[in-house]
Structure formats: structure tokens, C-alpha cells
């Protein structure tokens, strides 16, 4: 396990490259999910506003 | 066809010469940028000779880019550009005339002032000649490519900064071969031929496609 983690002494470079890739790709997914949720919430508000407007 | 071209060219030149400071600002911007570098990197003759071609070209890039903002802006604001769009003449011809005027006012002065910059950087007479030649062929390409960006960012907030972001990456080939020609002339004057051939081919390609692309961009921006 330690041998695997140390990557023959090049741990910093190998995990630095893989780590950044992981961070950015996961960040992109999380950001997209967050954006979708905010848009849905906004549209939901708009729809509710329109319906309550009709009733009045 | 040529009447339209001359007409627009003449009009733009007259308008610009009424406001001479605009032309002179670009020129002085170029001179100041070129003069600042020796103060920053030291005045050693060897260093300056190596840096010279690159610095002069980067300064030329920035100077021509700064002036691009004004290429269509005035005509856009007073509605002349919309009239040109509606006119029967092809828009790309009008655009080409405007670009030519722009180059005569901002590119050509740079070519003429280049010997001064060359002397500041201790370039030899031959290198200065090559530099003038390269600027003469290269700066029209800058104006042509830049016109596309100027048309795209017309009336956009923060247009100036945005323009630099869009256009500077596209200037790379001209920069590489323009400064490359001056660089190689310090070693072998006869080796500059291919550089000029490449710059000239860039100019021809840009002359063919850039007016079309700019007029397409103008149509998008104005509708």
C-alpha cells in the first residue's frame, strides 16, 4: 500500500496531477447540481407567484 | 466599387485628421512602452539587442489593439454604421475601407517610428530595415484580424478589455514571425526571406477573409 502511495518516489507529481483532475471534475459536477437546484427553485417561485396572482 | 472604397477611406481619414490627438496618442503609447522596457530590464547593450525585436512587436500589438476600439465605435454611436449596413454596396468593402483608413492612421506611423525604437535598442541598420519591413507587412494583418474583434465587441460593456482577451491570442502568428525576422537578421540577413513570405501570406489570407468575417460580425452586433 505504501509502495503504491509513494509511486516510486514520485508521489507528489502523480497525485498532484490526479488530485487536481479529481478536484476539478468533482467541482464541476457539484457546481452543475447547485446551479440546477437554484434554477429549479427560481422557476418554482415564479410558477407559485403566477398561480397566486391568478387566484386573486 | 472602387468609388465607394475611396469615398469611405477619404471620409475616415478626414474625420481622423480633424482629431489628430487620437492618432498621436497611439503613437506615443507605442513610444512610451518601448522606452519603459530598458528602465525595467537594465540598459545593457547585449540584453537590449536580444529583447528589442520582441518588445517592439509586443508594443506594436498593444498599440494597434488599443486603437481598434475606435474603429467602428464613432460610426456605431451616431448611426452611420446602420446606414452603411443598409446601403447597396457590399458591407465587406466598406469594412475594408475602414480598416485601411485605420491602418494608415495607426499602423503606418508605427512603421515610420520604428527606426527610433530600433536605435533605442542598439539594433544595426540592417535589422532596423528588416523591422520596418516586417511591421509594414505585419501591422495590416493586426488591423484586419482586430477588426473582427472590434465588430464583435461593439457597444458591449467592458469592450476594451474584452477585445484584448479575444484578439491577442489570434495575434500570436504575426508576433512569432514578425519578431523572428528581426531576430534572425542579426545573425544572417539573407535568412529573413521565409519570414517575409509567411507574413505576406498571412496578409493575403487576412485580406480575403477578415473583411467578410468582420462584416458578418457587424451584422450580428447591429441587428
Amino acid at each position: 500500500m505504501i509502495a503504491f502511495l509513494s509511486q516510486g518516489g514520485y508521489a507528489f507529481f502523480v497525485w498532484g496531477a490526479y488530485g487536481m483532475t479529481l478536484i476539478l471534475l468533482v467541482a464541476e459536477i457539484l457546481f452543475l447540481r447547485y446551479k440546477r437546484r437554484t434554477i429549479l427553485a427560481r422557476i418554482g417561485r415564479l410558477i407559485r407567484m403566477r398561480h397566486s396572482g391568478v387566484k386573486q | 466599387m472602387f468609388r465607394v472604397f475611396w469615398c469611405i477611406l477619404h471620409r475616415d481619414l478626414t474625420l481622423a485628421l480633424r482629431r489628430r490627438t487620437d492618432v498621436l496618442t497611439t503613437l506615443f503609447f507605442f513610444i512610451i512602452v518601448v522606452s519603459l522596457f530598458p528602465l525595467g530590464v537594465g540598459t545593457e547593450k547585449e540584453t537590449l539587442q536580444t529583447l528589442g525585436p520582441g518588445v517592439v512587436w509586443v508594443a506594436a500589438l498593444l498599440a494597434s489593439m488599443l486603437a481598434l476600439e475606435r474603429l467602428f465605435a464613432a460610426d456605431y454611436e451616431d448611426g452611420t454604421l446602420e446606414q452603411m449596413l443598409l446601403a447597396a454596396q457590399p458591407l465587406s468593402l466598406v469594412v475594408l475601407a475602414k480598416i485601411t483608413a485605420h491602418w494608415l492612421l495607426t499602423g503606418l506611423p508605427l512603421v515610420l517610428i520604428a527606426p527610433l525604437a530600433g536605435m533605442q535598442y542598439h539594433l544595426t541598420g540592417e535589422s532596423i530595415l528588416v523591422m520596418m519591413g516586417a511591421l509594414l507587412v505585419g501591422t495590416p494583418v493586426l488591423s484586419l484580424i482586430g477588426a473582427i474583434g472590434a465588430a464583435l465587441t461593439l457597444g458591449v460593456r467592458g469592450g476594451g478589455i474584452l477585445l484584448s482577451l479575444l484578439i491577442l491570442p489570434l495575434y500570436v502568428p504575426v508576433l512569432v514571425y514578425g519578431s523572428g525576422a528581426v531576430e534572425i537578421s542579426r545573425i544572417d540577413f539573407s535568412a529573413t526571406g521565409p519570414y517575409f513570405a509567411l507574413l505576406a501570406s498571412f496578409l493575403l489570407v487576412a485580406l480575403t477573409f477578415a473583411p467578410l468575417a468582420s462584416s458578418a460580425a457587424l451584422k450580428i452586433s447591429l441587428e
Binding site: 518516489g9 514520485y10 502523480v14 490526479y18 483532475t21 452543475l32 422557476i43 | -
Partner: protein, 254 residues
């Protein structure tokens, strides 16, 4: 049975289709990614021979090459959709181009980053003005320029078309830029990157590299479609399209 492809050019028709496709693309991302990574770390030799022996750090190749490939491919696809949009005037094509750009920029950045981390142990430097590095950097600027231009223009229709034109101009310029940085001296060409030749690669390495490339490709599909769905919702609801409400009601606003 003739399938009418243009039916899906309508955002309202494409939205649910994309929603069904996204989970498939996620599975197509995760499975090859796991296979490729496991294969790449455990089935490949620790050291590569040759004149310039490369040790474990060569394993960065499994993400470096795929990200670099994807960064270039996505730019081509983006410019392609931009061109389709300009020619056929379909709203969805512009949205597609628009949805691809951020993913492309992320891959371009990753290609530069992983390249730097590979360059340090093998060339002894994080950055070098090598032609491919420089061209990749300029590709990054082109992506940023596209995104910046689109977000600077408030009118969506104009923003779409202006950015599309920019993407196409960029696509035309990319080979010229690459060539100019590859041969700064037209009398002779030199490059730090060795000539790549897929057939000369060791089988296991090639296998994991290609699987991960496939995974990243599918990842691009998934994120692009996710972003596209958000874009569709945003624009269509702003335009007051009634299908947004009914579709969201059916999905239970999930």
C-alpha cells in the same frame, strides 16, 4: 421508419431526452474510469525503457493525454455546433456550443496542469515554451474568450451568434497558431515533445489510456447535457414557455 431528427432540435423535445441520457453517460463514465485506473496502476510496468527511462511518474499519461485530446476535440465540437447554429438558426445548437465551453476549458486547464506535473520530473521544469504547451495555453485563452464574450453581451440572441462567430474564427486560427509556435524558425522545426506514435506504445498502457479517454469523453457528454438542461430551463422560462411548467410538474420538480 423515418426518424425525424429535427424534432429533437426543439428545446422542449430535447430536454426530457437529455434527462434520460444523463444517467447512461454517468455509468459510461464511471465504469471505464475505474477499469482504466485500476489497469493503469496495477497492470502496467513501473518503469519504461528506451533512451530516456521514465519511472512511475509516466502514469500521468493516463489522464494527461485524454484531457489534452478532449480539450481539442471539444473545441472542434463547440465550433461545429456554433456553425450549425449560424447556418440553420437553431437555438439548441447555440446552447449546445455554450454548454460545451466550460467543460472544454476545464479539460484544457487539466491538460496544462497534468503536463506541468509530468514535465517537472521528466524535463526538469514545470513549464517550457514547447509548441504543444504554448498551443494548449492559447486554446485555453480561446475558451476563456468565448465564455467572456458570451457573458458580456446581455442580449442572448446576439451573444449566441457573436460567440459562435468567434469560435469559428478561433477554429480557423488554431492550426496557424500551432504551426507558428511549432516552427518559430521557418528554416528548421524543433519540438520538445517526442513524436507520438500509438502503435509503438505498450499494450497495457495504451489500453488504460484509451479507456480513460472514453470515460472523459462520456463525462463531457454528461456534464454538457446537464449544463444544457439548465440553460434550456433558464432561457425557456425567461421566454415564458408553458412546457417548462408542465414538464417540471411531471418530473415532480426533482
Amino acid at each position: 421508419m423515418a426518424l425525424n431528427w429535427f424534432r429533437f432540435a426543439a428545446p422542449s423535445a430535447f430536454y426530457p431526452l437529455a434527462g434520460r441520457a444523463i444517467p447512461i453517460f454517468w455509468w459510461l463514465t464511471v465504469i471505464p474510469l475505474v477499469i482504466g485506473l485500476v489497469w493503469g496502476f496495477f497492470m502496467t510496468p513501473d518503469q519504461l525503457g528506451g533512451t530516456n527511462a521514465q519511472k512511475e511518474y509516466y502514469r500521468i499519461i493516463f489522464i494527461h493525454v485524454p484531457t489534452a485530446w478532449m480539450s481539442m476535440w471539444l473545441y472542434v465540437v463547440m465550433a461545429g455546433w456554433a456553425a450549425v447554429g449560424l447556418v440553420f438558426k437553431t437555438r439548441l445548437s447555440f446552447m449546445m456550443a455554450n454548454a460545451i465551453a466550460p467543460t472544454g476549458a476545464v479539460f484544457t486547464f487539466l491538460a496544462l496542469w497534468t503536463g506541468a506535473f509530468w514535465g517537472r520530473p521528466s524535463w526538469g521544469t514545470y513549464w517550457d515554451w514547447d509548441p504543444r504547451l504554448t498551443a494548449e495555453l492559447i486554446l485555453f485563452f480561446l475558451y476563456i474568450g468565448y465564455i467572456a464574450l458570451h457573458s458580456a453581451i446581455d442580449d442572448t440572441r446576439r451573444a449566441d451568434r457573436a460567440a459562435a462567430l468567434l469560435a469559428i474564427v478561433g477554429l480557423v486560427m488554431v492550426p496557424v497558431i500551432f504551426w507558428s509556435v511549432n516552427c518559430p524558425d521557418p528554416n528548421q522545426c524543433a519540438a520538445l515533445h517526442q513524436r507520438s506514435d500509438l502503435t509503438r506504445m505498450e499494450g497495457n498502457i495504451l489500453f488504460s489510456m484509451l479507456t480513460i479517454t472514453f470515460a472523459f469523453w462520456m463525462y463531457s457528454f454528461a456534464t454538457t447535457l446537464m449544463r444544457l438542461r439548465s440553460l434550456i430551463l433558464e432561457r425557456e422560462s425567461a421566454a415564458g414557455a408553458s412546457w417548462v411548467e408542465t414538464t417540471l410538474g411531471k418530473e415532480g420538480a426533482s
